[in-house]
Every structure is written in C-alpha cells, then in structure tokens.
Symmetry: C2
Subunit: 211 residues, 2 copies
C-alpha cells in the first residue's frame, strides 16, 4: 500500500516536469525536482523508488520518460471520468476551470485524460442552465444510472453538508472509488473507497504563518 | 527558515487535535497524530521539535497545551485579516463557506481569528449584491486603501488569469504578505511574499490513482 502523502506528490512532480520541459530541459536531477515541489532530493528518490526508481545515479531523470511513467502510475494514461455532484458556485467554477485548463493548450500532462463527464443537481432552475462548458447537467435522480453507464470512478461533492453522505452512498453503489469532498461533512465510506477533503481554510491557516 | 511542507502540516495537526478533543481525549501520542494526518510518528516529532518539542517521551502531548502552542506558531492567536479579490463563483463560495465554518460552532481552533475583512470586484453588478455574508464588497479601485487601513495581510485571488498579476502587485504595495492564488496565472512576487497555488486538478489527478 502506497502512503497517500506520496500519491499526492506525484501530480506535483508531473506539473514540475511539464514546466521544466516547457523551459526546454530534457534531464532533471532529484535536487531540481525537490526544489520545485518543496521536498528534498532524498524524498524524491524515495518516492520514485516505490515505483521502480527510473533515474540513473549521478545523471538524473529523463523528463519525457519520467512523465510517461508517472502518467501510468496515476492511471492518467487512460480515460478517467469524473462526476460533479452539486452545480452551485463551486461546482460550476470547477467545471469552468477544468475547461480552461484543457483548452488553454498548456503542455499539461494528465489533463487531457481527466474528463468531467457529467454534473448533477436537485434544483430544476439550475438544470435548465445546463450544459455547463459542454458538461451535461442531470437531475440527481439520474446519478446512479449515469455513473454506471459512463463508467465514472471519481466524484466531486459540491453539495451542502446535509446532502453529502447520501450522495456519496449512491455514488459508491454505482461504482465510484474516490471522492473530492468540498462539503464540511465527514463522509463515512468503505475501506476500498478514498476520500480527499478539500478545505480552503487549512490553506489560509498555513498562510497566517507568513502574514 | 521552516520548510513550507512543515508549515502546511500544522493546521492539519490542529484540526486533528480539535477532533480528538471533541471525542473527549486529553492526551495524544505522536502515533495517533501521525495516523489522523497521514504522516508518521517520526515526522510528527520532527515537525514539532522545530518549534520546541512540547511532548514528554512515552507520555505524549497534552492536547490543550499543544493546541495553544500551534495557534501561537501559526499566529492564529491574533487577528488575521484576509481580502478576497474577485467576487465571482469561487470568491463568493469561499466567503459563504468561511461564514458557515465560523457560525457552525464546531470546536475549530484557528477559525475565530481568521477574518475575511473585505471583498473586491471590478463589476458594478456584482458590487450591488454586496455585502456577502456580512463581508463588505468594494470596487477594485479601493483595494490599496482598504488593505492599508484594515491591516489585511493575506489575499485570496479568485480573478481571471489576466487580472491576477496586477491585483497581486497592488496588494503587495499595500502590505499583503501571503496569497492563496486560485487563478491559473503564475504570480511573480518578491522573496518575502509567500504564494500558495490552489489547484483542484492536482487533487483530482492524485485521486485517479485510486479510481
Ligand atoms: N472545502 C472548502 O474549502 C469549501 C469552499 C467553498 C465551499 N465549500 C462547500 O462546498 C459546497 C458547495 O458550496 P457552494 O458555494 O457551491 O454552494 P451553493 O449553494 O452555491 O451550491 C450547492 C448546490 O448543490 C445543490 N444541491 C443541494 N442538494 C443537492 C443534492 N442532494 N444533490 C445534488 N445537488 C444538490 C443545490 O441545488 C446547489 O446548486 C458547500 O457544502 C460548501 O460548504 C467548501
Ligand atoms: N485553482 C483551482 O482549482 C480553480 C478552481 C476554480 C476556478 N479557478 C480560477 O479561479 C478564478 C475565478 O473563477 P470563477 O469561477 O469564480 O470565475 P468568475 O468569472 O465567476 O469570477 C471572476 C470574478 O472576478 C471579477 N474580476 C475580473 N477582473 C477583476 C479585477 N481586475 N479585479 C477584481 N475582480 C475582477 C469578475 O467581475 C468576476 O466577478 C479563475 O481564474 C478560475 O480559473 C481555479
């Protein structure tokens, strides 16, 4: 079992490799990779050794090869389908941002296979405004059907706290394996389901240190 | 200089201590603290030693004391004032969430001193809808004046990419020391200013691993 703190660093390495490649580099050292992601060269080597190492002692890592390997480890070399549950401010902002990132043509690995497949809401007024940046909007009654039919594996919960657990239960029944939970509710899920809790306040609290 | 990855863990320890205190505990071990925050007991001890240690070998940490010490380290025992620049979907969602967290009475250390002091936008239609959850909405022309007068030290940037750098420059001139940047723009700031880039796609990419 790979520690989650390691898994969370992998997309940061991917982002850093994109930026370095954009700057014209083709080889990177664990020191450089550590610097741009706020970790140490030892941490970088330790993380990558879990998946097979990849670099040559003293030479560093070939950027294009390491990128491909990270995409495979993160399963971003296949299509990953996402549902947005709750099409209020946060839900629509995330859909719009994802469309911006995809269309902006930046050399961003891992974006093109991350697809927001469908959005869900309970409010007819909201549903009438859909689709949002070509993401179709369905009533929450369709949640199970659409998730099963489309093979959606990740759900973003941007619903009020009182609706979050129920929506999560339906998603799990339909085959969702991982959640990005924005609601303040603490989700209760089976062992094999992963929950990542987003919390802007935690980021603000760490910034207070620098204020 | 404390590594930023350590600073980012401190609010997570604080959150975990709140939850443990809510559950009626008064002492916690570095193992328990490591488990709830996804790090190791050794990492917990290493992090806290940077600031003076606090625990007793074999006994653990007194929750109420450690909480106070973390609040002091993060400067959350004083009033920390925040500006939200851009009152669109993200800006308003963050203001509303912060009000929910503050008013929900959950024993959440570090919330009560984290105050969203003011919001700013360029669109008169948006400004007419203010204040938002009692946060006053000002035109961006007032950004410098209000930041200086209120002593705001942190700014959340929820503006489009093309406006982000200019807004950051004005904030820095007015005394802001740290940014939570939601815009896709990469900010260029002086050495003594801290930028934390929020990116929902990085969280989604790490969740693909579990899908
Ligand atoms: N974690 C964070 O940092 C953070 C930041 C901002 C907001 N939030 C949280 O994100 C959530 C959304 O915030 P928002 O500002 O977008 O709220 P919002 O009120 O604008 O949107 C909520 C949407 O959910 C819909 N909804 C309600 N019940 C539903 C259900 N059972 N199924 C599907 N849709 C349902 C509503 O119709 C509405 O469109 C809230 O829980 C809020 O507390 C978290
Ligand atoms: N990092 C992430 O994960 C993430 C997620 C969602 C959105 N975003 C980004 O956050 C930003 C806001 O997204 P949104 O969905 O709220 O957009 P939005 O269009 O709903 O809101 C933008 C607001 O900024 C205002 N604005 C424009 N120029 C301004 C200026 N110079 N000064 C002050 N206000 C100004 C607009 O009037 C509008 O109210 C965008 O840059 C978007 O790409 C990032």
């Amino acid at each position: 079992k790979v520690p989650d703190v390691v898994v969370r660093r992998l997309p940061m390495y991917l982002r850093a490799l994109d930026n370095l490649e954009n700057a014209g580099l083709s080889i990177v050292s664990s020191k450089e990779l550590g610097d741009v992601t706020g970790t140490s060269p030892t941490q970088v080597r330790k993380d990558l050794t879990i998946f097979g190492g990849f670099g040559k002692q003293g030479v560093g890592y070939k950027i294009s090869t390491l990128k491909k390997q990270l995409l495979t480890i993160l399963k971003l070399d296949q299509d990953v389908k996402i549902a947005i549950v709750g099409l209020g401010r946060m839900g629509k902002a995330i859909i719009h941002y994802n469309a911006y990132k995809r269309d902006s043509g930046q050399r961003n690995s891992g974006y093109k296979n991350l697809t927001i497949e469908a959005g869900f809401d309970i409010d007819e007024e909201v549903l009438k405004q859909g689709p949002f940046d070509s993401v179709p909007a369905y009533h929450v009654n369709m949640l199970k059907d659409v998730i099963v039919k489309s093979g959606i594996k990740i759900a973003v919960l941007t619903v009020p706290a009182e609706a979050a657990q129920k929506m999560a239960d339906i998603c799990i029944e339909a085959g969702v394996k991982a959640f990005l939970n924005f609601s303040p509710a603490t989700l209760i899920v089976p062992e094999n389901v992963r929950v990542s809790n987003a919390d802007v306040t935690v980021s603000l609290q760490s910034l207070a240190f620098y204020a």
